[in-house]
């Protein structure tokens, strides 16, 4: 697949402190690339460098095969950005805001009108188009923020943590919208520190920490980097110590923990772990309420790679 963005050896310093350390990656046409990392890992700095909003010490950035520069207006035409901070004019209505930002790219009034309607539909704000931003909830404001960034139908869209502090309904709406945009052919660079979002949305994920790429790949290949394969949690009424010791002797069990009435068993690998455990509980007349089985998350991958939690 064709590379839409190529980043080579990107290095950025803030007052002699390394913010980006020799970053190299590509973004393929039509994919959603996730930049995942905790706060301060360099996600936003990477995006700002890609957009020429920040200068950098060394490296090379090519977008659509051309060098990205502050005055590369032909390239900027193909780019849409949704920043983490809401950037709308409080004095304008929802419709007028989208019209203004779309108007920075598209001069034809009729075309713009059509694009605005489509953007409103995409983010589910049609019925709010005459509302002023101060009349919208936080989630609706975020949707407006997205509409302002993508109304001009760009080929490449940068979404910098667009779901921060958003209610579940708006989050779902935003995620659905992003999927729609991809279907329409857009290439998306999505930064987040919500691993669930990255898992649901992204074709490929780059895990960043302290300005370095820790790992890169699709969610399945990344999860292989985690030491664990499965985690089973059981809400148990009572369990004897000897039974706990017996569980520890299971072939693939890595760790067994009991906290109040919650039993957590971590497995290294293997299949049929749940079946084996159920059988054991029944044989030993151990009564339980609920059982959960979890595959490793990207947080587990991050934990394994850095020794700290993604949200730390």
């Amino acid at each position: 697949m064709e590379n839409i963005i190529e980043v080579k050896n990107l290095t950025k310093e803030y007052k002699n402190k390394l913010a980006l350390d020799n970053l190299s990656f590509e973004v393929k046409k039509g994919e959603i690339l996730g930049l995942l990392g905790p706060n301060g890992s360099g996600k936003s700095t990477t995006i700002n460098c890609l957009l020429s909003l920040l200068s950098f010490k060394q490296g090379n950035i090519k977008i659509l095969g051309k060098e990205m520069e502050p005055n590369a207006y032909d390239l900027k035409k193909e780019i849409g950005v949704v920043f983490q901070e809401i950037a709308v004019l409080e004095e304008l209505t929802v419709y007028e805001n989208i019209d203004y930002f779309c108007g920075l790219y598209i001069k034809e009034k009729e075309k713009r009108k059509q694009y605005i309607e489509e953007a409103l539909d995409l983010v589910g704000l049609i019925e709010y188009k005459k509302f002023y931003p101060k009349q919208l909830s936080g989630g609706l404001k975020r949707r407006l923020n997205i509409a302002c960034g993508i109304a001009h139908k760009p080929k490449i869209i940068f979404l910098d943590e667009p779901t921060v502090a958003v209610d579940p309904q708006s989050r779902n709406n935003i995620l659905e919208g992003i999927k729609k945009l991809r279907k329409e052919g857009a290439t998306i660079i999505y930064t987040t520190h919500y691993m669930e979002e990255a898992e649901i949305l992204c074709d490929r994920i780059i895990i960043l920490d302290k300005g370095k790429i820790l790992a890169e790949g699709n969610k399945d290949s990344l999860k292989k980097l985690a030491d664990i394969e499965e985690k089973i949690t059981v809400e148990i009424k009572e369990i004897k110590k000897e039974n706990l010791e017996k569980i520890k002797t299971f072939k693939t069990v890595e760790e067994v923990n009991i906290n109040k009435n919650i039993l957590t068993i971590t497995y290294k690998k293997g299949k049929n772990n749940l079946e084996e455990l159920m059988k054991f509980l029944k044989q030993n007349n151990i009564t339980y309420d609920k059982v959960f089985s979890e595959r490793p998350t990207l947080n587990d991958v991050f934990l394994n790679l850095t020794g700290k939690d993604l949200r730390d």
Partner: protein, 382 residues
């Protein structure tokens, strides 16, 4: 065009504020325009004098007394020192003339006898002094050149009979000019507030860090975007000026269509553009709208109070006026005051007015330089 249209869409959102300051101006002007006296009439005034004659009432002395009685209101008061003092104190009389013994003889002998006077030193006393001086000067000329007393008296009276014919040719309606002056002085507050408030709010919106970022990454050149904003601001200022001029035309009618009225409007236009540069400078100081609102209130109201927009400058303390020299409104109002007093309008007379306008332009240049310096510093920090 989108940016330009958006600018005026935002202006429209602040129409309430524009309306508020316009109503304030109408109310203030309405109060002043409701008085309609016209004081172009001319009346001849006569001072109240007292003549104490110790000479014989004949010949030259008699003629002097006759002349004085004809041109003043001659009062009869008992020749007692205390009564005379009281009459002077209570302004019953403004001028006392003491004609000494042998006045007539001394004149005819070619001596220059002294005439003692007492005066209240006011306008009427000055007028009496002028009347007496005029007579003495004419008398001295004829006494030097003639011998015959009757000939001298005849010539004195002939010369003094020649009256200057006074005709008021000036068509200046001082009441209307005063009203125009009050309108434009108060307009300085409304004009400055409307311009600074709205331009500051619009510019702080566009300069908001996140909006600025969004514009920078768009396919529109940021410098071009700024150029459009500047053009829209200029047009806005021009529209506000036209609005105020039209309002002036409705309230002051023909008076505004005179050369004087046009100079008043030009002065307001220069002041409006100076206000624009103040707005640009303030908006570069902060992006916080509440802070902007506070600064704008201090700037517009403060200048109006210190420079005489609400209170005539002659009533303001000297030290306040000295301080006001550093404020643009002071120079705008000074121009209005000069215009009010101007009798003849020609290039020579309007030179001080043009100089004041030049000072306003220099203020504007200064504000632009300060704005550029602040912007450069901010860019460096970012």
């Amino acid at each position: 065009m989108t940016v330009f249209k958006t600018y005026f869409k935002i202006v429209k959102k602040y129409k309430g504020m524009i309306l508020l300051y316009t109503i304030l101006l109408i109310l203030f002007s309405g109060i002043n325009l409701s008085t309609n006296d016209n004081n172009t009439n001319f009346t001849k005034e006569k001072p109240n004098i007292l003549i104490i004659n110790k000479d014989e009432n004949i010949g030259i002395t008699k003629n002097l007394i006759h002349y004085l009685k004809k041109n003043t209101n001659t009062k009869e008061i008992e020749n007692k020192e205390q009564k005379i003092k009281d009459a002077l104190f209570y302004r019953d009389i403004n001028y006392i003339i003491y004609i000494k013994e042998n006045y007539r003889k001394d004149i005819l002998d070619g001596k220059n006898p002294k005439i003692d006077i007492k005066t209240t030193k006011d306008y009427n006393a000055t007028l009496a002094s002028q009347i007496l001086t005029r007579y003495i000067k004419v008398q001295n000329i004829y006494v030097k050149n003639m011998q015959n007393e009757q000939e001298i008296i005849k010539n004195i009276n002939k010369s003094l009979e020649k009256q200057a014919k006074i005709e008021i040719t000036s068509k200046i309606n001082t009441t209307q000019i005063e009203k125009m002056n009050l309108y434009f002085n108060f307009a300085s507050y409304s004009l400055m507030a409307i311009i600074i408030f709205i331009i500051c709010f619009i510019l702080t919106s566009f300069k908001n860090k996140n909006i600025h970022k969004r514009i920078t990454i768009s396919s529109m050149n940021y410098k071009k975007h700024n150029r459009i904003i500047r053009k829209a601001s200029l047009l806005y200022v021009f529209i506000v000026w036209i609005l105020f001029s039209l309002l002036g035309l409705i309230l002051l009618k023909d008076t505004l269509l005179s050369i004087r009225g046009i100079i008043y409007m030009v002065n307001a236009l220069v002041f409006a553009f100076c206000s624009l540069t103040i707005a640009i400078m303030i908006s570069s100081l902060t992006n916080n709208k509440e802070a902007v609102s506070g600064i704008v209130n201090v700037v517009s109201l403060g200048q109006a109070f210190l420079c005489g927009a609400f209170v005539p400058t002659q009533w303001l303390p000297k030290n306040v006026l000295t301080l006001a020299h550093i404020l643009p409104t002071y120079w705008y109002i000074q121009t209005n005051e000069l215009l009010k007093k101007l009798e003849i309008i020609n290039l020579k007379e309007i030179k001080p007015i043009l100089l004041n306008m030049l000072i306003l332009i220099l203020f504007s240049i200064l504000f632009i330089i300060i704005n550029n310096q602040i912007s450069k510093r901010k860019q460096k920090i970012e």
